[in-house]
């Protein structure tokens, strides 16, 4: 029997997920023994046309990381869907939109204006914007089109499984690979490589009852060791974030940022966390509550740091929404 064929692809993401795959360490060797890696632009020299030439469903497993941010991301998502038996949204960007997804708080017009006109280091007196087609003496150059909205992978193609994390932790990645190789897979559409509870369940810090009268950003306070960070006024997303990382961040005194996404029964992680925090602000006075909440400079960016495109909000709508 031939070895299973595996593809890995990197769309709109930082590249951390690629590193996360390598992070399985020595186990990469038995992995490459067990499977054929047929497509991995980051690591092996292969062209898109070679994928296009494959049979449909020829790839057994595709780990797709990154959000869908431009026409190239979408084209590759559709191509890999067509060529793969199992398409896995690997990492927070593909699953939920993650940091690239925060672009949904702005329009394409605003983003391009900011990047090509407004920023102080820009020298662009003619106000030239990037074009999808540019004529040069040698012919026409084409660039992918930047989309107005960032999409998650499952908003453009059918997805079989989701692996959360920014990035997914190595052991979880290995567990998913093992499960696939052994054919030991849960129901389609499941989140794999994660727990069912929340980060607090794995967090070693001591929890009592929580009331918040002031929020601290991590640089504004040296937290007491061993005590729940949220109780100390440091925004920790552990209360609304799926377990699976073994509470890596809070274990070393840094607050959970929420990268493992919503727990199983939650469909909007940001809204749930806002609802929870709203319940524990220690004041009945609306003005004081406002003052406390003002200590959070960018609520949308904080509470929806990983999940905006995947949330009920999806994006900010404005009057000049379309450019």
């Amino acid at each position: 029997m031939s070895k299973p064929k595996v593809a890995l692809y990197w769309a709109a993401s930082c590249g951390g997920c690629e590193i996360a795959v390598l992070d399985i360490g020595d186990r990469i060797l038995p992995l490459t023994e067990a499977v054929d890696i047929v497509f991995w632009p980051c690591a092996i020299d292969i062209k898109y046309d070679e994928v296009r030439a494959m049979e449909d469903d020829e790839i057994d497993l595709c780990l797709f990381n990154g959000a869908i941010r431009n026409s190239e991301n979408e084209e590759m998502a559709k191509l890999l869907r067509q060529k793969s038996k199992l398409l896995v949204a690997y990492g927070s960007c593909a699953y939920e939109g993650c940091i690239p997804g925060l672009a949904n708080l702005k329009t394409r017009k605003e983003i391009l204006r900011r990047n090509y006109i407004e920023i102080p280091s820009m020298d662009n007196p003619d106000g030239i914007y990037p074009q999808t087609r540019t004529e040069v003496p040698e012919g026409i150059l084409e660039l992918p089109e930047l989309y107005d909205t960032v999409y998650t992978l499952d908003q453009v193609v059918d997805v079989d499984y989701y692996v959360p994390g920014c990035p997914p932790v190595a052991d979880q990645t290995w567990a998913v690979l093992e499960a696939v190789l052994e054919g030991n897979l849960p129901e389609k559409g499941s989140v794999v490589g994660a727990g069912t509870k929340i980060v607090c369940d794995d967090c070693p810090l001591e929890k009592k009852e929580t009331k918040i009268s002031r929020f601290f950003r991590p640089h504004e306070i040296i937290p007491e060791p061993d005590i729940c960070l949220l109780e100390q006024g440091i925004y920790c997303a552990g209360i609304g974030t799926r377990a699976g990382c073994e509470a890596l961040c809070p274990s070393v005194g840094m607050p959970c940022r929420g990268c493992y996404g919503p727990p199983p029964e939650v469909f909007d992680q940001g809204a749930k966390i806002v609802s929870a925090l709203g319940s524990i602000i220690d004041s009945e006075d609306p003005d004081e509550v406002d003052r406390i909440m003002e200590q959070i400079p960018c609520p949308a960016g904080l509470f929806y740091r990983f999940s905006l495109p995947h949330s009920i909000l999806r994006r900010k709508t404005t009057d000049d929404y379309k450019d």
Partner: protein, 651 residues
């Protein structure tokens, strides 16, 4: 898939005039899961209910939706009807298309469309409704009444007479409250003490009433039928079990303390009973005024007490009790004169409040019923009574009407005329309100027969000039400014909640309204209940009221308690919060937000659990649970999500 029946009520024209009820039924019939839909003129009528019952059987319905008025009105009616036809009551839902639709709209087309959306929303909820069973809760048939004024006394007597035990807790050393301070009562002018003391004595002697005076509620936990209370009995420094009430100690005590009961118009010793008819008639030592406690010398009371009842070593005592219901009847205070800057801020000696004037009129008061002013004991020849002193003044003082002042001021003026025949009373008023049996007649008699001068207007300023107290006011009927050089001024100061009420409600976990008075569950239909089960309210702690109203409310609250105690066990609504053990990560945020202490951390399982008997189903924990482990039964997140989707027109 459930088979759901939808029954659309016309409510006469209440709904049908604005909403096309037939179309609502037709559209409902097209909704997924709806097996039957029909409209009817009065769904709550017997034929309407019969229709529901028959169709449940004929159409083999698993759930029904009544599109009608608010669930507050007829949810229980239709749940009972559904249960009679064999359905679980929690498979019956109300779609409110009256209060939330027909009554608030005029555009028939849009209102009909909204009604259809409301029905669609409830269909989504109903699809996912579980069948539930009420949670049985045992009940301790013993009541706690807090406050020993006329409200608390009446409530305690009524409950005790029904055969149940009552603990009556009073902060002062004697029961009686403000009513004991009054001289005569309007409009019949019967002596307040004479009608009150028999009830005080009855409460003191009743075998089912345990009187705990000089005591305060320290802590309350538990839930309806099963409260645990801790009561602190303050040290009286007198062993009441020995004291025979001879009063010798009080005669000999050399300290002089202003009497709170006599509104500081008289003095008593540091060891005292507040008034001669006190129940129990046992003295207490005011530690702050006692010469021995202050200087370490004296102990005169100890020397004269032949039976050795004085005990300077006594300490506060804590008593734990279990009760099934709690009535709060903590009464009122009046706005202090010192708070009223334009009326002399308490610095003008001959400006007193209504309760002080009661003491001056009282046969057992400091002047033995003779009206003599505080500054020099002179019998005043001209008295100005100022109504609404701090009431009906939203900018500076209290926005509400104190309700009893119109009547008691008229009574004061009348009793003054009866004592001082050549005296002249003036009453400044904004409006005279006489809504009570015999009240208007009482006022008319005073105005027409007794020579009391009523001046419609507010008093702007009161100040002292020689031995006179000058009142500046305006008569708004004639438009003239008025100046009266009076001998005495009596302010009808605003009725306010007791200072201690705010602290008490926190311990009890009951609510107050915007002005600090106890909040009732419903202003019209549940006036003597708190929102929280097992708590009842009576008397002026709930809002200003006169004696007959206070007594009626006290009896009503007692009746509610007796009705609660008539059952073998209580049934708790099962539509409360629950925790999915597989999801709960033990963050414990829900514990901090639960107003009923219904959540606790289970160390063994590492999760939070719900005490079903304590949970009132308020949903605070559901909102606070970021991991989605806590859900409200029959109002889960997935139900709400599909309801929101349906209400926005999606499916």
């Amino acid at each position: 898939m459930k088979r759901i029946g939808v029954f659309v009520c016309h409510c006469g024209i209440n709904i049908a005039e604005t909403v096309d009820v037939k179309r609502v039924a037709e559209e409902a019939m097209k909704m997924e899961g709806v097996a039957y839909a029909q409209d009817y003129i009065y769904m709550c009528s017997e034929p309407g209910q019969t229709l529901v019952r028959e169709k449940i059987v004929e159409e083999k319905l698993d759930a029904v939706i009544i599109a009608a008025c608010s669930p507050n009105l007829h949810e229980s009616t239709f749940r009972a009807a559904a249960e009679e036809a064999g359905l679980n009551p929690w498979q019956c839902e109300i779609a409110n298309i009256r209060e939330q639709c027909s009554w608030v709209h005029t555009d028939r087309e849009k209102a009909t469309s909204k009604a259809i959306h409301i029905v669609a929303t409830i269909v989504q909820k109903t699809k996912l409704n579980e069948s539930l069973e009420p949670i049985p809760v045992s009940i301790t048939k013993k009541a706690l009444v807090i406050g020993g004024g006329i409200a608390g006394i009446q409530a305690a007597l009524d409950i005790a007479d029904s055969g149940h035990k009552v603990i009556l807790v009073e902060k002062e050393s004697s029961i009686g409250g403000h009513m004991a301070q009054l001289s005569e009562t309007f409009p019949t002018l019967d002596c307040s003490q004479c009608i009150l003391t028999p009830k005080m004595v009855a409460a003191g002697k009743h075998p089912n009433i345990e009187l705990m005076t000089y005591s305060q509620v320290d802590e309350v936990s538990g839930y309806v039928g099963n409260f645990k209370v801790r009561i602190r009995q303050k040290a009286a420094f007198v062993d009441w079990s020995k004291c025979n009430g001879c009063g010798l100690c009080m005669e000999k005590c050399p300290a002089k303390v202003s009497s709170v009961f006599d509104r500081e118009l008289a003095k008593h010793g540091a060891i005292y009973v507040p008034f001669p008819q006190a129940v129990p008639n046992k003295p207490v030592i005011d530690k702050d005024s006692c010469i021995y406690f202050k200087s370490g010398k004296c102990r005169l009371c100890e020397k004269v007490c032949e039976i050795g009842a004085i005990d300077f070593e006594q300490e506060d005592r804590f008593i734990e009790e279990e009760v099934g219901a709690i009535i709060t009847a903590t009464g009122f205070d009046t706005l202090p004169v010192v708070d009223l800057a334009e009326y002399g801020a308490g610095e003008v000696p001959d400006v007193i409040d209504g309760l002080a004037f009661e003491r001056l009129l009282s046969a057992s008061g400091p002047t033995v019923g003779e009206v003599r002013r505080p500054s020099d004991g002179m019998v005043p020849k001209e008295i100005v009574f100022v109504q609404c002193a701090g009431s009906r003044d939203p900018e500076r003082y209290k926005p509400y009407c104190s309700k009893i002042c119109c009547m008691y001021t008229t009574k004061h003026a009348l009793l003054y005329k009866h004592r001082v025949h050549d005296g002249q009373p003036y009453i400044f008023y904004i409006d005279i309100r006489t809504g009570g049996k015999g009240y208007e007649e009482f006022y008319h008699n005073a105005e027409e027969e007794e020579g009391i001068i009523y001046l419609r207007g507010k008093v702007a300023k009161i100040f002292r000039d020689g031995d006179k107290t000058v009142v500046w006011g305006t008569d708004t009927l004639t438009g003239r400014n008025i100046e009266i050089a009076a001998d005495l001024v009596v302010l009808a100061t605003a009725v306010v909640p007791k200072d201690s009420t705010a602290e008490l409600v926190k311990k009890l976990r009951i609510q107050t309204g915007p002005n600090g008075f106890l909040a009732e569950a419903h202003p019209k239909l549940r006036p003597v209940e708190s929102i929280n089960s097992g708590f009842f309210i009576a008397g002026a702690a709930q809002g200003p009221k006169d004696i007959p109203e206070t007594v009626s409310q006290a009896s009503a609250a007692a009746c509610k308690v007796i009705s609660l105690f008539s059952r073998d066990h209580l049934e708790q609504d099962p539509a409360i919060a629950w925790v999915d053990e597989d999801l709960c990560g033990g963050c414990r945020i829900c514990i901090s937000v639960c107003p009923y202490d219904a959540r606790e951390f289970d160390e063994e399982k590492g999760i939070v659990i719900v005490n079903e008997a304590l949970c009132e189903g308020c949903g605070s924990c559901v909102a606070a649970c970021a991991c989605g482990a806590t859900q409200q039964r029959n109002l889960s997140d997935s139900q709400i999500k599909s309801m929101v989707t349906a209400s926005l027109g999606g499916v």
